[in-house]
């Protein structure tokens, strides 16, 4: 039997005992390295090569026993807190809607809600089993697919009648983009300054497409997420460049563009400044810009700590309670205590998962899980602020709790990806062989610029 076959056979018998097939390559490589080291050591001691190999394999121990031991250690991990939280939040949403719609003709809402949850569970399970490393393997393809779907939605729903549909779909689709963007960062890591700029430019493409089709706040928060992800990548050294220079490289152009855009729009529309002032302090214009914020604050001021508050109901005052003012409703209808409970649950979940994110050693897992939590946290903060009467920016959704089909399904997809990342625990490290790549998109040779599109 050839040497290669003997090693292969030993490793094969070890792996046969390990039920989780995805860890086989990682374990095979380590055992293979070890056998070769041991064999080389025996050769140095003066044994002939074939005897050295026999002895090296014998030194390894019984493959069945080894495999069984390894099988006990390597089990796919299920991060239960994600499932528990998602379940609890969904139930809370259904419960609130049940109370809100009982005795009204609105109970179709519960039916719809449950249908969204079932679809969401399907997606969540599907994404969980689809290995998250997919995003690192085909980053450009995924990014392109998303861009095509933006275009598709825009074209299909360009008639004036369906404008509302397009508006919601695009806003929620944008929630998946920071995660898709991590794939782009991942594919450009270790490749220096030009690729930071290219990553930044890639982040801007979707903005150009959805501009004027979705509220500005959605775009700003998407860009903010991308900035945070780029910053983390530079600080943690994923780009393999000087950190300060890298940060300056993204922050200087971004600041210049932002500041000049702000100056430009205020120059052209001086009332913008006034409007922002009114939004920050709604009392300045209680019947105009500050109207909704003022009403919201009034509803809340009538709330008690426990139990239903005074004054007219949230629904009667604000409308849109199922989608935009669910927490204002909760504060007024059940009291501050119930609201604080919801906020506490959300905070515990966010903190716990962020801690788990920082523990992810693999670059891809780290970036993907962080991107999902950034997206999640921004939604929560926006919604809570809006519902407390701080209405400078519009809300999107309170994940799983407020009403919305697309919102629920998209957020469940994100939770599925998160589960898939945590399934691996610490197992996936950064493979040196693959990560050390000297090829860049642009390289200079003999006075020629070479553009390498394959990488």
């Amino acid at each position: 039997m050839s040497q290669y076959n003997m090693i292969y056979e030993y490793i094969e018998s070890v792996c046969n005992q390990i039920r989780w097939r995805k860890v086989h390559p990682i374990i095979s490589k380590e055992l293979n390295d070890h056998i070769i080291d041991q064999k080389d050591a025996f050769i140095t001691q003066g044994f002939a090569e074939d005897i050295a190999l026999d002895k090296a394999i014998e030194e390894m121990g019984d493959p069945i026993v080894v495999g069984k031991e390894l099988d006990l250690t390597h089990r796919p991990k299920l991060e239960l807190s994600i499932i528990l939280f998602t379940g609890l939040a969904l139930l809370m949403g259904v419960f609130l809607r049940f109370i809100m719609t009982s005795g009204t003709p609105m109970n179709w809402m519960i039916r719809e809600n449950i249908m969204h949850i079932v679809i969401g569970i399907g997606f969540m399970i599907g994404v969980y089993f689809l290995d998250y490393r997919f995003i690192g393997r085909y980053p450009k393809l995924i990014f392109l697919a998303f861009i095509v779907s933006i275009l598709g939605i825009s074209i299909l729903s360009s008639g004036p009648m369906v404008r509302y549909g397009q508006y919601t779909y695009l806003s929620y689709l944008l929630l998946l983009f920071p995660t898709a963007f991590t794939g782009i960062i991942y594919s450009m890591r270790n490749r220096g300054y030009t690729d930071i700029i290219l990553s930044g430019l890639a982040a801007i493409i979707p903005v150009l497409l959805v501009f004027s089709q979705t509220p500005m706040s959605n775009i700003l928060f998407y860009l903010l997420s991308c900035m945070i992800l780029l910053t983390i990548s530079i600080i943690r050294g994923f780009f393999n460049i000087h950190r300060k220079k890298g940060l300056l490289l993204i922050y200087i152009p971004t600041s210049i563009v932002t500041i000049s855009m702000v100056i430009f729009s205020i120059w052209n529309h001086p009332y913008y400044l006034n409007r922002i002032q009114n939004l920050i302090n709604p009392a300045l214009d209680p019947l105009g810009d500050g109207y909704m914020a003022n009403l919201t604050r009034e509803v809340i001021s009538n709330a008690r700590f426990i139990g239903e508050g005074l004054g007219s109901s949230t629904g009667a005052t604000l409308g849109q309670i199922h989608t935009d003012f669910l927490l204002t409703y909760v504060i007024h209808r059940f009291g501050w205590l119930f609201f604080l409970m919801i906020v506490t649950i959300l905070t515990i979940f966010i903190v716990r998962i962020f801690i788990l994110c920082t523990k992810q050693k693999g670059i891809l897992g780290n970036l993907i899980s962080t991107s999902i939590m950034i997206t999640f946290t921004i939604q929560v903060i926006r919604y809570i602020a809006f519902n407390l009467g701080i209405q400078v920016i519009s809300p999107l959704t309170l994940p799983f709790i407020s009403y919305g089909g697309t919102a629920t399904v998209i957020n469940m997809i994100l939770m599925g990806v998160l589960l898939s990342v945590f399934k691996w625990g610490d197992l996936i490290k950064n493979n040196l062989e693959r990560s050390v790549s000297n090829k860049t998109l642009f390289s200079f040779q003999d006075g020629k610029i070479i553009i390498d599109l394959k990488h």
């Binding site: 390295d33 080291d37 041991q38 030194e59 390894m60 026993v65 250690t73 493979n431």
Partner: protein, 115 residues
């Protein structure tokens, strides 16, 4: 001389942690180093080592990373964590107490000075 397996198995974790406390190592290096430091008394099988290492990593006592070793080969190195250092200290104290008491019994209660 190769020692009785039972005597070794309980303390293997401690020995591995001690090796990694001195410097980061890859699997084969640990077996080699252990056998050298114990004058060939402890010969650890790879089949025992790797499940142990993977288990310790799972418990966050050690972490692994890949790096170029001599000969330009990529190797998986292991590194002790803070948590691992704490465990090592605990196990050492336990071991010292245990050894002291065993010796005390063997010496028939006579006070003696450990080397």
């Amino acid at each position: 001389m190769t020692m009785n397996k039972n005597l070794l198995s309980g303390s293997t974790t401690m020995l591995i942690l001690k090796l990694l406390d001195d410097k980061d190592m890859y699997g084969y290096q640990m077996i080699d180093e252990l056998s050298r430091r114990s004058d060939d008394t402890f010969s650890l099988k790879a089949g025992t080592l790797y499940p142990l290492l993977h288990n310790l990593e799972e418990q966050e006592m050690i972490e692994s990373y890949e790096e170029y070793a001599e000969g330009n080969r990529i190797r998986k190195y292991y590194k002790i964590t803070k948590k691992g250092k704490k465990l090592l200290l605990e196990q050492r104290n336990e071991w010292n107490l245990y050894a002291e008491k065993i010796n005390k019994v063997l010496e028939g209660g006579v006070e003696f000075v450990t080397i």
